[in-house]
Symmetry: C2
């Protein structure tokens, strides 16, 4: 499946599933009411490299960003965020994109990748574990999940 860096023109095809995922309030620590303008500023920030996946029909089905997790003396630790269109889950797009982003981070000289806030009920925890990420720690009861109540936020880490 083609994975490539995103251009500004890709945003209108990212926004529908971005909005759906953030509005659901189950996986991201962003305001569920985030406007399209604010979402674009978050996801397509000049500080981030953004990637997209297209399926065999050319539909844009997933996106990720890669960016330094810290500045200055910590700038060679990466952070990334991933979204797969919920209507296109279970077809391996997330796993393929994860592998691509880890390879890109390595190629760009990052020493490790850190996720600061992985909701502990997010099935992606298993995906990251399968890629060798470990849970460094968990902020207890930090996230108000609409179905599970208060759940923890994992800090996950992988050396590159």
């Amino acid at each position: 499946m083609p994975i490539r860096e995103a251009g500004a023109d890709d945003w209108p095809r990212i926004w529908p599933f971005w909005h759906r995922i953030v509005a659901a309030g189950e996986t991201y620590t962003w305001d569920p009411d985030t406007t399209e303008e604010a979402a674009r500023a978050l996801w397509m920030s000049p500080a981030k490299r953004v990637y997209v996946v297209e399926d065999e029909t050319g539909d844009l089905v997933a996106s990720a960003y890669l960016t330094p997790n810290y500045g200055g003396p910590g700038a060679d630790i990466a952070n990334a965020g991933f979204m797969v269109d919920p209507d296109r889950g279970g077809r391996g797009f997330g796993r393929a994109l994860a592998g691509h982003i880890l390879a890109a981070a390595t190629a760009q000289g990052y020493r490790a990748m850190v996720f600061n806030a992985v909701v502990e009920t997010n099935p992606a925890v298993q995906l990251w574990t399968s890629f060798g990420f470990t849970i460094l720690g968990t902020v207890p009861d930090a996230f108000a999940h609409p179905r599970h109540g208060r759940v923890g936020l994992h800090i996950m880490y992988k050396a590159l």
Copy 2:
């Protein structure tokens, strides 16, 4: 010692020690070359509440910010940052400011406070521990310290 919320007029008195601390590259994951304009945008951001400490002569000797550490479903977890003028260290300004900010965070309804990146060689680790913070985990070798080489970044946590 008077501790109060900062106004925009306080920034010129914060910047000299802000710059000195960040330029030293030992405690903050910000670019040591951060310009004054960028520093002001970081520290005095509208998303942050900023506090300052004045000594008995009216000199501004320390500052802190208080802000949500996450957005949306995680917005009731606080984050804070602290800077004490290095020329005024050891006189209890940091400890007094820390107590003030923890009380302010509690009063503002935060459930907990998280520090995402405490350089493990920073003496402030002991200060936070004395206030009841625990180390949830450590990102190994994440910070290039100018004297100690690569050191870890602690994620520290305290329930409020």
